[in-house]
């Protein structure tokens, strides 16, 4: 359905419910939808499951959402980082659940959700603690583990540019999880640097087609809106 071009980040995250599964884009800070996360903190939804590659850095963004006690469970590949002190504390205090998923399996499980695949056999993690308790099968002499889709209620992603239909392009390695998460959530919200007219993006270069995008907001729009 037609994309909603939002006036600010608050409008972009309106309606996210308690208990939602929220896919959060970004690899480190590249592609991280910082303004959408800040708006989600203001919006108030709690008891969230967050799916993201990392578990927050420093005291802002995803880390701030965690610090507010709004995340019940996090699904990620690499929570432990030099500056992941907020997650570290919550985890050691058993105030947050953690599911560690190999990075490629994390991406592929979201792709499966977006592509209507019910489950898939992956060679990643076979024989390791991360495959414990999972179904395995030998296919053509190689052992695989069965992995299930990860579907989001909401995806919050960062992109470089949107047109007013919702087509998205990214920039360099900030592309990372955005295009995959955009296929895997019921409501997809993109924070972009620039919104351009329909026809201004070359159809050959579109990375996330408009069909996947429900709401777009220009970064900085929230700040401008609040200062007005």
């Amino acid at each position: 359905m037609t994309v909603q071009v939002c006036a600010d980040a608050d409008e972009a995250v309106a309606g996210i419910r308690d208990g939602s599964t929220v896919l959060v884009g970004g690899f480190g800070m590249a592609g991280m939808p910082v303004e959408l996360i800040d708006a989600l903190i203001r919006q108030g939804a709690s008891d969230l499951t967050v799916v993201s590659n990392n578990a927050g850095n420093g005291d802002t963004g995803l880390a701030a959402l965690l610090a507010e006690g709004r995340v019940r469970r996090i699904v990620c590949s690499f929570p432990r980082q030099a500056d992941s002190w907020i997650f570290d504390r919550l985890y050691r205090e058993q105030r947050i659940e953690l599911e560690v998923v190999p990075q490629g399996t994390l991406a592929e499980r979201m792709r499966a959700a977006g592509a209507g695949i019910g489950a898939f056999f992956s060679p990643t993690g076979v024989g390791t603690p991360l495959a414990e308790g999972k179904e395995t099968r030998e296919i053509n002499g190689r052992t695989y583990v069965l992995e299930y889709p990860i579907k989001g209620d909401v995806a919050l992603i960062g992109a470089h540019r949107a047109d007013r239909m919702g087509n998205l392009v990214y920039r360099k390695t900030a592309r990372n999880f955005g295009p995959v998460m955009a296929t895997a959530a019921t409501t997809v919200v993109a924070q972009v640097r620039e919104i351009v007219e329909i026809g201004a993006i070359d159809p050959e270069t579109v990375v996330t087609p408009s069909i996947y995008v429900d709401r777009v907001v220009q970064a900085g729009a929230a700040a401008e809106g609040r200062s007005a």
Partner: protein, 248 residues
């Protein structure tokens, strides 16, 4: 179900032609929908979408926001639809490869697809890829992916085959394309809602509900009536002699 209007019997109208059926389908496509139109008759639906409808057409061979067929002089061999017919591109289009295109279908991202059919059953089973004839060469294309992928599947077909056999049936006798996947059936004589609750008649054209029910061997109910589909006997079809059961 209560949001559906009650049955409309258009006794004064002639049965619909292809273009009128296409217009009927177009009327039921909400503004801004992402839609795939199957090859053949469903393609006509595009001509009946109102200007500014914001409907975005998908073609399985890797494109969103496909435009109308190319006119002479506009033909680009790199730009065709699923029927391999040269088409055009609208502003805001996007291209993608086949795995991405079918991930889009299979993943349930298309709002509506419109397909032709050999047979549709009252519970929404679809048969549209194979006549079952022993010497026919099977060819499925993207039909099975579309049938199970789109949020809503509309079928557009004549209600009776050339040999007079009904195409809305109790159970498909042709090889299936998908199970329980069809939501609406648009025909020359009537439009139907089909699904787990059976077949409901929404509107008729040049035929009364009772006449229609008599010609089909399918439990039917009129839209928004206080009764469930009438249990027609499973054995001993009530099909009149001019509508033989599908033989092949």
């Amino acid at each position: 179900m209560n949001s559906t209007p009650s049955l409309v019997e258009n006794l004064d109208r002639a049965p619909l032609g292809k273009d009128e059926m296409a217009a009927m389908v177009a009327r039921d496509i909400p503004r801004g929908s992402y839609v795939n139109l199957g090859i053949g008759q469903p393609t006509l639906v595009a001509d009946h979408l109102p200007a500014g409808s914001g409907v975005v057409l998908h073609t399985e061979n890797g494109m969103l926001n496909m435009g109308p067929a190319a006119r002479p002089g506009e033909v680009d061999p790199d730009l065709t639809n699923a029927g391999k017919i040269p088409v055009t591109e609208l502003p805001g289009a996007a291209y993608f490869h086949h795995a991405d295109s079918f991930a889009m279908m299979r993943g349930g991202h298309l709002d509506i697809c419109v397909l032709g059919a050999f047979q549709v059953s009252a519970v929404g089973d679809l048969a549209n890829w194979h006549t079952g004839a022993r010497d026919a060469i099977p060819a499925v294309g993207g039909a099975m992916d579309l049938a199970i992928g789109a949020k809503k599947v509309f079928v557009m077909m004549t209600l009776f085959a050339k040999d007079g056999s009904p195409k809305l049936v109790r159970e498909c006798t042709y090889p299936l394309t998908g199970l329980g996947c069809v939501d609406r059936v648009y025909t020359d004589l009537a439009t139907f809602r089909v699904g787990p609750e059976g077949a409901t008649v929404l509107e008729t054209f040049g035929i009364s509900y009772d006449e229609l029910a008599a010609r089909l061997d399918v439990p039917l109910a009129p839209a928004n009536a206080d009764r469930t589909p009438s249990p027609a006997p499973h054995a001993g079809p009530t099909v009149p002699s001019e509508a033989p059961s599908p033989g092949h």
